[in-house]
């Protein structure tokens, strides 16, 4: 499957991902700037904040409770904000497009 990250400088990068990984891990392994994942994917640090493209919001599901609480206080949060450590890659998400917010 492929995922496209729109970076803070407005350029885009499309990378290949195996299903079954956290989107944050895909970003870190592909050196996507602005996604750090300092806590290793425990929704404890909010350093992997992304905006999910509108057409992918249903497929990526709802925020988890923990994620919701973290995002409630995170700077720059929008309706389509997610912590990318709480999105798991799958074939259904092939073509997923997100924007990197940066922390």
């Amino acid at each position: 499957m492929n995922v496209t990250f729109t970076l803070q400088d407005r350029t885009s990068r499309t990378v290949e991902a195996e299903p079954g990984w956290k989107l944050m891990e895909v970003a870190v392994d592909n050196a996507i700037p602005g996604i750090d994942g300092d806590c290793g994917g425990e929704a404890a640090c909010a350093t992997c904040h992304v905006y999910v493209a509108s057409e992918w919001r249903d497929a990526t599901g709802e925020r988890t409770d923990l994620e919701q609480a973290m995002l409630a206080s995170t700077f720059g949060v929008r309706e389509n904000s997610r912590l990318s450590c709480q999105i798991e890659t799958s074939e259904e998400l092939d073509g997923l497009s997100v924007e990197v917010v940066g922390s």
């Binding site: 891990e25 300092d38 290793g40 425990e42 404890a44």
Partner: protein, 413 residues
């Protein structure tokens, strides 16, 4: 001037982040990352949490997948650094040829403080530091196993929670009068203690482990007040010591770790030190500190990378910490000292707490359990200017979010 070659010794969170940040910052020179353990560099925090619970497969423990190193042109050197030749700008390795550097980053981390008691060498006495330690422990935790944990700090309590969840009988010995005494205030410590007791963990505070009994393998421990507790397994987490051997032998200044200035430079301008091993002047306490956390390691790594690329000022990132114990997500923003006062904020959830720490009237840290929103907000407040006064925080209706909405200044970052 940007160096042409960087050698990083130590491939924990900090070392790996330094390599990543150099490339993200546009560094085009060579990067060698020296990793002295078997296999690819991995994350340590999950070892005492999800990995030990069997909820994290081994490849997901890795800091970066294998393809990352080639794509980012990071030469992963699976070897042990044994000496630094400062005059010749070389790092000597145990096995392979020496590595030349223009700039050297020491990210050597820390080692477990060993148990200074008879019997510490027995089979079944295990510190929690490496993946090998976690693998060994995972194989030994079963229902009914008698476990003695020495030290009620982060690691000891994370392990205690996992062992209790596996049905082991867990007994924690701690010298201080409460758990996590160095890290959190009395109210937070007592909240954590009660949760562990609900999971069946027994505590003995103010109690030293004085000897470990057994022939070949551990059968029990002896306590300072003369009792003998049965034990199939003894796990110790009594603090760490910074790994300064390389730096010390190379003649670098040492002061509770490798001494660095506010730019994280050692006494040699061609050598930086980051993470658990480095003691630095803290912008938040005004004193010299050495912190053992992922946040500290990765933020310092980013700082050094930015400085080498010519785009950085003094290091001043706000420290934060987290620990997962059972269903408790413990998060600490800022840096409190034992003498700082504590104001407990009333929260509606029964399994949550929020404690504000003050030095005089100044908010210096916020401890939360299962209040991740407060934690994120606290990080923003502490990184900015001014927080709620102790009087405001003491009001029965105080709420950090409402306070921030009413009085919080716009965040600077």
């Amino acid at each position: 001037m940007t160096p042409a070659s960087v050698v990083i010794v130590g491939a924990g969170a900090g070392g790996a982040q330094a390599a990543a940040s150099l490339r993200q910052g546009g560094f085009e020179g060579s990067i060698s990352l020296v990793h002295g353990e078997p296999g690819l560099p991995y994350q340590r925090p999950p070892l005492s949490k999800a990995y030990l619970l069997g909820r994290l497969e081994a490849r997901k423990l890795l800091l970066r997948q294998e393809h990352w190193y080639a794509k980012q042109r990071v030469d992963l050197v699976l070897d042990r650094a044994v000496a630094i030749d400062r005059a010749g700008h070389q790092v000597h390795l145990a096995g392979g040829p020496s590595l030349s550097y223009d700039h050297l980053i020491l990210a050597t981390g820390s080692r477990n403080r060993e148990l200074p008691v008879p019997g510490a060498h027995l089979d079944g006495v295990i510190g929690m530091r490496t993946r090998a330690d976690a693998d060994e422990l995972a194989g030994r935790i079963r229902e009914g196993v008698e476990v003695v944990v020495a030290g009620a700090g982060f690691i000891g309590l994370e392990f205690a929670a996992v062992a209790a969840a596996h049905g082991a009988a867990v007994h924690v010995l701690e010298l201080a009068d409460r758990p996590m005494a160095r890290a959190v205030s009395e109210p937070t410590a007592q909240f954590i203690r009660r949760a562990h007791e609900e999971w069946g963990v027994r505590f003995d505070f103010g109690q030293a482990l004085t000897a470990i009994d057994g022939e070949g393998r551990v059968t029990g421990v002896e306590t300072g007040d003369g009792r003998r507790l049965p034990a199939d397994l003894v796990v110790y987490g009594i603090g760490v010591v910074p790994d300064t051997v390389l730096a010390e032998e190379a003649g670098l200044a040492i002061e509770n770790g490798i001494r660095v200035d506010d730019r994280l430079l050692t006494s040699d301008p061609d050598i930086s030190a980051i993470g658990d091993a480095a003691s630095f002047p803290s912008a938040h306490t005004g004193g010299r500190v050495r912190l053992e956390s992922v946040q500290n390691a990765v933020d310092q790594a980013r700082h050094v990378a930015a400085r080498l690329m010519g785009t950085s000022i003094g290091y001043d990132a706000l420290p934060w910490f987290w620990s997962d114990q059972g269903d408790l997500k413990i998060q600490i923003a800022g840096l409190a000292e034992v003498t700082d006062s504590a104001v407990e904020v009333a929260v509606p959830e029964p399994r949550a707490t929020c404690v504000l720490r003050y030095r005089g009237d100044r908010l210096v840290a916020v401890e939360t359990v299962n209040r991740p929103g407060d934690h994120v907000l606290a990080r923003r407040i502490l990184a900015g200017t001014g927080g709620p006064s102790p009087e405001e925080a003491s009001a029965p209706s105080f709420d950090l979010t409402r306070w921030h909405e009413a009085y919080g200044l716009a965040p600077t970052g």
